[in-house]
Each structure stands twice: as structure tokens, then as C-alpha cells.
């Protein structure tokens, strides 16, 4: 007997209900707004912290450059800020950083890439699932252990091959940094290669390509942006690495590009000076920040280069 009534009644009620629902989506509850604000705050905090760090580096570097001309800083070939005859040329430290990084990359880029291609394109699922965690375990070894390993194991080995090699040298430090960053490069590259859809790979194999041809000509080019990200990550780690170079490469700022010699890197200098008791506001204290700023610029440039490389490759397809 009720059957006639529901139809008109729902027709009457539904418009107001619709409007109420509209209101609810347009004006969120205050709890909703608090959560949104918190999320925004969390997102902004990392931006804020980064800007804060850059700000401090810039400010303290400006104080430094009031006393030392930027031209001297970039062209002077000596770095002796704590000596009576003070020189403030960043080149020796930069050369140390770039040399150890170059040695590390000469080892890590080929080994990391080949490892990634092997794990993604050749290894069975079981081998991949076993090897990858072990590789990633390498990243959890504290870097101070790598540093002592470089000094006490790798350097003596290298001295067998090259007896004139000094106890502190950039070759040994660079090689160990290379080993240290292999997992970053291989693991991130492997993820990129593995993400290439199976039908792309099959398309190449169905043309009669070998697995090697497929990997080199189709899979790697498909994964190039992910692999560039892996390389940039590895380079940034190598440039910023501190303990290994501080322990194994020596602390003497020398302008040399020869990896067989000892030299201080930017990071090693910062460690050395930060541990001393420099008075706040002295020029020596200021050098920590200017060295830090230099390091920031170098890693930033590598990131930009990686970004440009990526967009260029994308356009080439």
C-alpha cells in the first residue's frame, strides 16, 4: 500500500540532498583543513631546510669573500688558510675531489652498469633476488670501515703492484669509493632496466636479435633516463664522500691530478678543520663554509648535467 508514495517523496527530497553533498565537497570540515595544512607544512619543510642551508652557506661565504678576492679563490694554486702565509686557492681541494671521483667512476660506472644489465637481462629470477639484496647490503657498511679498508688493505695490495705508491693516495681511496657506489648505480639502473615493458624486449627478440643486441640496442636506450638518475646519484655520493678520503687519501692540500699521489679533498678539509678549535668568525672558520659551498656547487652542476642529458636523450628518440 506504500508503493505509490516513495516515488514522489524521493523526487522531493533528492535535490536538497544533492545540494548538501555539494556543500560538503566545497567546504571541507575544519579537521580536513588542518590535515591539509600539516601535509603542506611537511612538504614545505624540506624545501625550507634546503633554502636555509644554502642561505647560511651563501651568507658565510660572502663574509669570506669580503676578505679574499674571488679571483684568488679560483686561481691561487695553494690552499693554506691556517698558515702564517695564508693562501686561499680552492683548486688543490677541487682537484683532489675531482680526481678521487674520477677514479671511483672509472670503476663504478662500467661495473655498476654491467651488473645492472646482467641482473636485469641475463640472471634468472632466483639469482636476481639473491644477488640484489647482497649488493644493497654494501650500502649499509659504515663509510669509516671502507676508509680503513682502503688504508689498511687496498693500499698495501696496490703497493705490491706499484712499490713507490705512498701510504696515502687518491687511487686507493677512489677505488674504494667506487666499490661503495657500485650498489647505488647497479641497483637504481637495474630498477630502470627492469621497468622496461616485456613487450618491448620481446619485439626485439622476435626480430631475431640476441639477448645482448636486445639489451644494448633496445632495453638500455629505453631505460636511459632512469640510468642517468642512477649515475647522478653515484656521482653525488662520490663527490660528497668524506670518511674514505679523509682516512686514505691524506690531508695535505696539493694541486695534483695524479691519483698515485696523496691529496686532500674538499670534504677531507672540512672534516680536518671542523675538528680543530677555530675561533668563531675567524677567516679559518669562514673557509669551512666556502668549501661547503664549493661542494654544493659541484654536486649541483652534476645534477643539472644529468638533467640536461636526460632531456636531450628524450628528444633524440
Amino acid at each position: 500500500m506504500d508503493r505509490t508514495r516513495p516515488a514522489p517523496s524521493t523526487r522531493d527530497q533528492s535535490p536538497p540532498q544533492g545540494r548538501a553533498a555539494d556543500r560538503a565537497t566545497r567546504r571541507p570540515e575544519s579537521g580536513e583543513r588542518i590535515i591539509e595544512a600539516l601535509l603542506l607544512l611537511a612538504a614545505l619543510s624540506s624545501v625550507g631546510i634546503t633554502l636555509g642551508i644554502v642561505g647560511v652557506l651563501l651568507y658565510e661565504s660572502a663574509v669570506f669573500f669580503r676578505q679574499v678576492s674571488p679571483l684568488d679563490f679560483l686561481t691561487d694554486t695553494q690552499w693554506t688558510p691556517l698558515f702564517a702565509d695564508a693562501h686561499y686557492g680552492i683548486l688543490p681541494l677541487l682537484a683532489g675531489t675531482l680526481t678521487t671521483t674520477a677514479v671511483a667512476l672509472a670503476l663504478a660506472l662500467p661495473v655498476g652498469t654491467i651488473t645492472a644489465v646482467f641482473l636485469s637481462e641475463y640472471a634468472s629470477a632466483r639469482v636476481r633476488e639473491t644477488v640484489k639484496p647482497f649488493l644493497e647490503l654494501l650500502t649499509s657498511v659504515p663509510t669509516v670501515i671502507f676508509g680503513y679498508f682502503a688504508l689498511l688493505v687496498v693500499t698495501p695490495w696496490l703497493q705490491h703492484l706499484w712499490p713507490a705508491l705512498p701510504g696515502f693516495n687518491m687511487l686507493s681511496a677512489g677505488l674504494v669509493i667506487g666499490v661503495m657506489i657500485i650498489p647505488y648505480i647497479s641497483s637504481v639502473s637495474e630498477d630502470a632496466l627492469h621497468a622496461v615493458p616485456a613487450h618491448i624486449r620481446e619485439g626485439s627478440l622476435a626480430m631475431g636479435a640476441t639477448r645482448m643486441q636486445t639489451a644494448v640496442r633496445v632495453v638500455v636506450p629505453s631505460a636511459v633516463s632512469g640510468m642517468a638518475a642512477a649515475y647522478v646519484l653515484g656521482i653525488s655520493r662520490a663527490v660528497g664522500e668524506t670518511m674514505v678520503v679523509a682516512i686514505a687519501a691524506g690531508m695535505q692540500p696539493t694541486l695534483t691530478w695524479n691519483p698515485l699521489e696523496p691529496a686532500a679533498t674538499v670534504t677531507a678539509y672540512i672534516v680536518q678543520v671542523s675538528l680543530g678549535d677555530l675561533p668563531h668568525g675567524s677567516i679559518g672558520y669562514q673557509t669551512i663554509f666556502v668549501a661547503g659551498f664549493t661542494l654544493f656547487v659541484v654536486t649541483f652542476l652534476f645534477n643539472v648535467a644529468g638533467y640536461l642529458l636526460r632531456t636531450r636523450y628524450h628528444r633524440k628518440y
Partner: protein, 259 residues
Amino acid sequence: MTTASVPPAKAEIRNLSFSFGRTEVLKSVSMPIADRRVTALIGPSGCGKTTFLRCLNRMQDLHPDVRYTGEIILHPEQINIIDPAIDPIEVRMRVGMVFQKPNPFPKSIFENVVYGLRIRGIRDRATLDERAVQALQEAALWEEVKDRLREPATSLSGGQQQRLCIARALATKPEMILFDEPTSALDPVATAKIEELMTSLKNEVTIVIVTHNMQQAARVSDYTAFMFLGTLVEFDRTDTIFTNPSSSLTEEYVTGRFG
């Protein structure tokens, strides 16, 4: 099971069984594949038609733990292509494949077409150019891409990408091309173009197509094989399969009563 007599066969499948591990996916399939004709494989999902297709170019070898028994004889040399002594790469050099989803490589349109030539070691510029143009014309894509050969293949539409994949397969002059549901990701206009293309290609090359679309099988193919649960139920001329099938199962499937 009936077996229509097929004037010159490009391939003959004899008692082909195929297993992944312990699961037998194909059970003693025997049928001919007519030379320079279109053969369609139809059947409900999971009937083994794609598995069967991928046996014809040994793509199944990419999976671990697979086993073939029986023979797939490729004419005119009468070699058994599933013989373990035969290198699967040799088979794939002769039998091309076009996939369900267009899968252009991250290269230019031109480099996609000549990919098969490059991996066969052909470097001569004139040869590459000539074969690329020819393949693109055969795939009815030349007019649309002739001014943009250096552009990325991914800039093409889905239908164009699929015709590019067909051009890529044609460039190496294969004897047989396998189409695995080539239009299932395409709109009706692009589908019509691909079907037209298959009809024009069959004078040159033997075609085997897996399709879920019964009208497509009826439109493009000369012979049709109906498969069910890993067995070949019926093989005959396409018009016979669709108008006068001998198995009631085939009739139920092609009239849409199951599947």
C-alpha cells in the same frame, strides 16, 4: 577433426604438444599453414592459440622449463623448427611477429624500420634507405611518415605505431609473419587499415593471425583453426568454418553461444 587439403603449405604442424613445466598447454595439434595465405586461429581465452602462435617462431624458448614434442616443418627446406639443434634466432630471422600492443623501440621511425637489418649486420646506407622505404610503403605508412623519418616512433598514433611494427617485420623480408591479436588495442578505423593491409600482404608473405574477433577472422583469413582447451577442434577453409562447421563445438563458438 577434419583437415582440409591445403594447396602448397608453408609449414606443417604434426602432433605438436607443448608444456610449461608440468602443464601441457597444447595437445597433439596437427594442421598445415598455407603458403601466402592468411590462417586465423580462433578460440576462447586460454585455449592455447597464442601459445601455438609463439611456438611458430620459438618465442616460447624465452620461458624457462618449456618442452616441445612433435614437429613443425618449415617448407621448402623441410626443416623441423622445434628441433633443439635449430637455433631459435635462425627461426625468428625467417618468421616475423607483430604483437598485441604496438611496441616501437625508443628510436626514430627510420631506425625502427631498419632495426632487423642492423642486427643482421647490414650497414650500407643505400640498402637501408631502400628497404626502409619499401617496407613503409608495403605497410601503407610511407605517405604519413615520409617527412618525419627522424622523429621518435612514439610520436605516432597507436594505429600508425602498429603499422610501423608491421613495416619493421616486413623490412627483413620474412617468409611468414605471426600476428598476435594485432588490432585489440586499436580503434575501428585503425583496425580496418590493418585488416586491409593483411589482405594486400598475403601475396608476398604467409600470415598467421590470432584473433578474438570472429568477424575479423571471417574478413581477413582464408583458413581458420578453431582451438579449445589446448586441442585443435577443427581446421578448414574459413567460409566452411563459419557457414558449415562439422563440429557442433565450432558452431556454438562461431555463432557466439559461448566463449
